[in-house]
Amino acid sequence: MSDLMGVINLDYELDQLNELTYFRCGAAVPFAGRYRLIDFVLSNMTDAGVKDISLFVRRKFRSLMDHLGEGRPWDLDRKRGGLFILPPDWNDPSDTSHGDLQHIRNNLDFFNRGSAKYVLHVGSQHISKVDFCDVYRYHKEQGADVTLVYTKVEQLEPEHDPCLRLDVNEDGFVSSIHHERDHSNVYMEMFVMEKSFFLEQVRHCIAHGDSYFFRDAIQKNQHQLKIAAYEYKGYHAVINSVESYYKNSLDLLTPENYNSLFKDRSVNTKIKYEAPTKYLDSADVSNSLVANGCIIGGTVENSILFRGVRVHKGAKITNSIIMQKCVIGENAVIENVILDKDVNLPSNRMLVGDVKRPFVIAKSSTL
């Protein structure tokens, strides 16, 4: 459906995953054995037929660029349109904009050139399988100025604290946008708006010295605008801290979560040409997610192994997340640990973290 053009706005997302975001932005953090967090929202967009997608990035985006390339795995390597990664490079002396408005203001070409009439604006921290076609249909049906996507969270966790909440009336419109922590309607940082209206709001915000589009154009005007609320039901996780990353990763080890995230439509990601995973005679793997290219000779329980991990004989991995190309030496013991990429754990070593606060080892660390 080419009525929608997409913006993935990473401008205001904080990189709060400690060691995992030392050298990369949150959107580029590896997840679920072979993906990066951005893959989920990006795949949802391309599945809905969105053909023009721009990414507003501000810092630590090198690994994100490497991951996305020209967008081929998402079929975004197009002659017209496709994927645009837009770094903060602007040199207009007359520019008075601030915050994420700066990104929009300096990339007006993207909006003007695209033929789509509606803008789908999203972040990367909410992992879901939202059907944006349905959101768009709902937006038009409601005749709204803007439609916000939310989900009802049964059990609120600390990672939901920074999320905005929506009061929704019987007709499906937002009556209030607020920060009440015990409110269960969590805004998923996804909205749809007509492009002309969006750009008009941008101009207006800049003229008034504002700095954040959502806060200043939508939240502040919540009583003047007709704001529809689209309720999403399905897999949902917010990843904005090491704890939420760890918990939501290991939560994928239930068939319900695994199936709802992966089975109905596949999530696209950068292709690696790894051989299938090899289980040696001494392998003992249970309740785990394993990507390709691993060679497993040890014990793996309640854990996630990314692509190309080597687990030597006698090693024991429990409740841990082991990222790409880590090597776990013979008889090493790992419990409640997140190993970022390329970590080599020598034989007979022991790393134990806390169930609630996993021990995180930064990328390429030598132990």
């Binding site: 679920a32 292709i271 040409y273 299938p276 005679d281």
Partner: protein, 394 residues
């Protein structure tokens, strides 16, 4: 005018591979699945890519649909090039009438125009039937060093095996003086791997000569090589060391898959310097449930395993239900295996659904036979589709 290429590879991929039975009912042998994620043709294509050969013609004939769509523009093997790339070359109609490719040499002869675009020095003839990793660039160096008209890659087989192969009899310096197809009394154990490197001008002359011979079968081994020997051309054997298998039968395909399961297999698929590329089916990481047991096996992404898997190869998207046991088997993509199923020494073809409590190959009269279970067997008698045991009896 195309850019000149030193070497152009021609990959023969038109064979049916009849002895693979149901596996090649709807696709050519090079498209047959192997090793948990690959198709056979991935090996020669990846070898080309890794050897720096970027111009490859793929000659297709028998059931080409799967191959054609699989190869596409060749981006998976890094062959979507501006100059060169991979080209699928099926038989085509010409001014003087049309016919199928009558033999391996005829297939090349009929694509002279394709080859001449690149004005090559050498032509590498490959077959899409074998599993091996080989650096063709080293063979080219050898070929040039010897100033050979033709270099044929050979493996050393045992004397007993030799009568099943095309055998090259050579001088001490590996200069070939005779070629014998499946000799009863072999004089040498150097078996041709069906990999030929020719000087293009020499090959072209011989293709013309052979094409006008009414008794020819237009085959490289049977006609072109003997003709070159007769014309006193310089032919050398190039000894290849490493894993090489012709997976031409159900038994050998199964065995070759099983060869991957040892702790240090002869064919290393995890070598980052010599990747075997394949089209990625984009599946999520495999989920290994509590209580499952997987040993001595290779398992691809997209699998969900509740049961036990021992000494087997699982392709992508396979489900293995609780209480099921798979031993010594190859399970091809997207097979759904129910609960308490037992599968022993079988190849299950893609998309099969194996109902709960089914036993395949457990009670068997011939312990060495590899059972091949395919969806076609079921379609013939749809009312029996639920009981797979009926096919096994056949």
């Amino acid at each position: 005018m195309m850019k000149k290429k030193e070497v152009v590879a021609m990959l023969l991929a038109g064979g049916q591979g009849k002895r693979l039975k149901g596996l090649t009912r709807t696709l050519a042998k090079p498209a047959v699945y192997f090793g948990g994620t690959y198709r056979i043709i991935d090996f020669p294509l990846s070898n080309c890519s890794n050897s720096g050969i970027d111009t490859v013609g793929v000659l297709t004939q028998y059931e080409p649909l799967v191959l054609h769509s699989y190869i596409g523009v060749g981006s998976d093997w890094d062959m979507d090039r501006k100059d060169g790339g991979v080209f699928v070359l099926p038989p085509h109609e010409r001014e003087d009438g049309s016919s199928w490719y009558r033999g391996t040499a005829d297939a090349i002869f009929r694509n002279l125009k394709f080859l001449e675009q690149y004005d090559p020095e050498h032509i590498l003839i490959l077959s899409g039937d074998h599993i091996y990793k080989m650096d063709y660039d080293k063979m080219l160096e050898y070929h040039k060093e010897k100033n050979a008209d033709c270099t044929i890659s050979v493996v050393n087989v045992t004397m007993e095996e030799a009568s099943r192969f095309g055998i090259l009899n050579t001088e001490d310096d590996l200069k070939i003086y005779e070629f014998e197809e499946k000799p009863e009394q072999p004089k040498s154990t150097l078996a041709s791997m069906g990999i030929y490197l020719f000087k293009w001008d020499v090959l072209k002359k011989h293709l013309y000569e052979d094409e006008h011979n009414p008794d020819s079968s237009f085959d490289f081994g049977k006609d072109i090589i003997p003709l070159m020997l007769k014309n006193e051309k310089l032919l050398y054997a190039y000894p290849f060391e490493g894993y090489w298998r012709d997976v031409g039968t159900v038994q050998s395909l199964w065995q070759s898959n099983m060869d991957l399961l040892s702790d240090e297999p002869l064919l290393n698929l995890n070598d980052p310097t010599w990747r075997i590329y394949t089209r990625n089916p984009n599946q999520p990481a495999q989920y290994i449930a509590p209580g499952s047991k997987i040993v001595n096996s290779i398992v691809n992404e997209g699998c969900v395993v509740y049961g036990s898997v021992n000494h087997s190869v699982l392709f992508y998207g396979i489900e293995v239900g609780e209480g099921s046991e798979i031993t010594d088997s190859v399970i091809m993509p997207n097979v759904k295996i129910g609960k308490n199923v037992r599968i022993h020494k079988a190849i299950i073809q893609e998309d099969m659904v194996i109902e709960d409590n089914t036993e395949i190959g457990v009670d068997r009269s011939n312990p060495d036979e590899i059972l091949l279970i395919g969806i076609e067997d079921l379609i013939e008698e749809p009312e029996q589709a639920v009981t797979i045991s009926t096919i096994i009896e056949k």
